[in-house]
Amino acid sequence: MTAWWSLSKEAFLILRRDRVFTPVVTVGIIVALFANIASNWGIDSYDKILFDIGIAGFRMTGGAVAMLWGVRMIADPIKDRSIELRLASPSARFSWLMSRFVGLSFCLILMGLIFAGVWQGLMLLNHFGSMTNLQNWAIGLLVLEWIVLGSLALLLGTLAGLSTALFSAFALWLTGLVAPLVAATMGPNSDPFQKQVVEFIANIWNFQRFNLIDQLEIGSNHVLLNDLYPRLEWAGCVLAGCLTLAAWAFQKKDMT
């Protein structure tokens, strides 16, 4: 087994056995079940209620835990000093950092698969049949959003302590979710400078790119690749940027 793979497996096991894992999965399932119950309360569009609440529940739960784990992937080993035992070795700091990211990503993918399984169960329960391609993509993009948030949290974890990094990650995520919505509501009477600023932020920092909920409806199975590519490209750019900066900062960090 290579050093890099071994370290990734270790990171994955730490998260998989983390005390947060089971409660998070349970919360995700409860939200999905609540969505199922709530969809029956609506007069019409019960599928929309199901998708809106269910997928949004998965999204928020997974996003929050991705940031928590991303920051803790760095903060915990620094706190318990186990980082010393791993870095005082021939393996490079870059390898250690990337293996933490890979371990985190695998754990988030596992969580995504569990949520997808729950979702499939709900679909069958409501006689909607198997998940469509579009629904698969919607959940896939959610997992990608968690991975991007994980890389952002990892970067912040290398730069600051646990609470500061966590707070900053939440603030940045919230900005990415809200900025495009605010930009869309700004009319011609809005202050031009403010409008320009909000639009600029919405263009470069738009977490709604991971959101396919609006396009989900029963029977819809139309995945526009031209629509997906820019979303994937943006995710790739943010991932690459965060990981490069994290590696650069981590390379220079003193383990005091």
Binding site: A3, E10, L85, R86
Partner: protein
């Protein structure tokens, strides 16, 4: 008592030259200079004890050797060349405060360790791990989560972790910390076994008796500088131990001037060390008669003797007091 260093200075295989490090704990706080041009040498096949008060720079020095902290100035040389990642593959490290993640098992920890140290062949890893865990008495617990381990068990695992890849240099930071008497004897025997195998050892501990019995050389740090090296003095750790005071008279409510006046008035034997701690003055003597000669005059003067006795297992404190005397004279 180890005394295998006599005479000429051996060749250094790990050298620290002019290491300097300043930390700024907080943007608003003034910087703290932890290392001030530190020069140290470590020798092939020998055991070197690194001694110093908390904050003397011992752990910072170790972390620099391991590449965990970067020096502001200075060099770390491995066999005469700047130390590399590959050189660090020959180092084993046992950290005092480091704890393994509680959800992992000893087998998983050691498996990763073998992989990152590129120990080959990987097919033999399982066997190697089992035999190592057997040797440290953790075989039965090999698949138990570490969060259920006692401090002693954690230390035994830390030893297995530091030595499983058979390093040429072992860096041990407080290896006796938190161990019961039997655990300490076991740890000492493990260190002696590695020493016999020809492994170079850097031992950092506050326990002077252990340093004296295990180390060939002693280097003492104070405020980020080397203040004593048994190599420069051409003195073995055994000889150093012999030079330390063994009998102590602790007098309360006096100053060094009072003690000096008493000595002059009664023509008492001179002390070997004098250490003042608030209103307490501690006098150290090499022999028993010198120490006892002070009792009657002190009592006659009305001084309170709070302790009188011998200390065969001279503490690290005594060593540091001894050298404080030496460097302030």
């Amino acid at each position: 008592m180890s005394t295998n260093f006599e005479g000429s200075r051996p060749t250094s295989f790990l050298s620290l030259r002019g290491l300097e490090k300043t930390f700024r704990p907080d943007a608003l706080k003034p910087p703290i200079q932890l290392l001030k041009g530190l020069d140290l040498d470590f020798f092939e096949g020998s055991c070197t004890g690194l001694v110093g008060h908390n904050g003397a720079g011992k752990t910072t020095t170790i972390r620099m050797i391991l590449g965990l902290i970067f020096p502001d100035r200075g060099q770390i040389l491995f066999r005469g060349q700047p130390i590399t990642k590959e050189n660090r593959a020959t180092i084993g490290y046992m950290a005092e405060t480091a704890r393994f993640p509680g959800t992992l098992t000893p087998t998983e920890i050691l498996r990763t360790q073998l992989a990152i140290y590129h120990v080959k062949p990987s097919s033999s890893h399982a066997k190697l791990i089992d035999s190592k865990l057997e040797s440290v008495g953790l075989f039965k617990d090999r698949n138990r989560a570490l969060k259920n381990f006692s401090k002693g068990m954690q230390q035994r695992l830390a030893w297995a972790h530091a030595t499983i890849h058979e390093p040429d240099l072992l860096i041990l930071d407080e290896p006796f910390s938190g161990l019961d008497p039997i655990g300490r004897i076991t740890m000492k025997n493990w260190i002696l076994a590695e020493k016999k195998r020809g492994v170079s050892i850097l031992l950092c501990t506050h326990e002077l008796p252990q340093i004296m019995s295990l180390c060939d050389h002693i280097q003492i740090l104070r405020n980020g500088k080397l203040v004593y090296s048994s190599l420069d003095k051409k003195q073995s750790s055994g000889a150093l131990y012999e030079a330390l005071p063994k009998y102590f008279v602790d007098i309360s409510g006096v100053t060094p001037a009072d003690v000096e006046a008493l000595r002059a008035a009664h023509k008492l034997d001179p002390w070997q060390t004098l250490h003042q701690d608030g209103f307490l003055v501690q006098l150290g003597f090499k022999d028993y008669p010198s120490a006892t000669s002070w009792l009657a005059p002190c009592l006659a003067k009305g001084y309170v003797i709070v302790r009188f006795g011998d200390d065969n297992s001279a503490s690290e404190e005594q060593l540091l007091i001894h050298f404080k005397e030496e460097f302030t004279q």
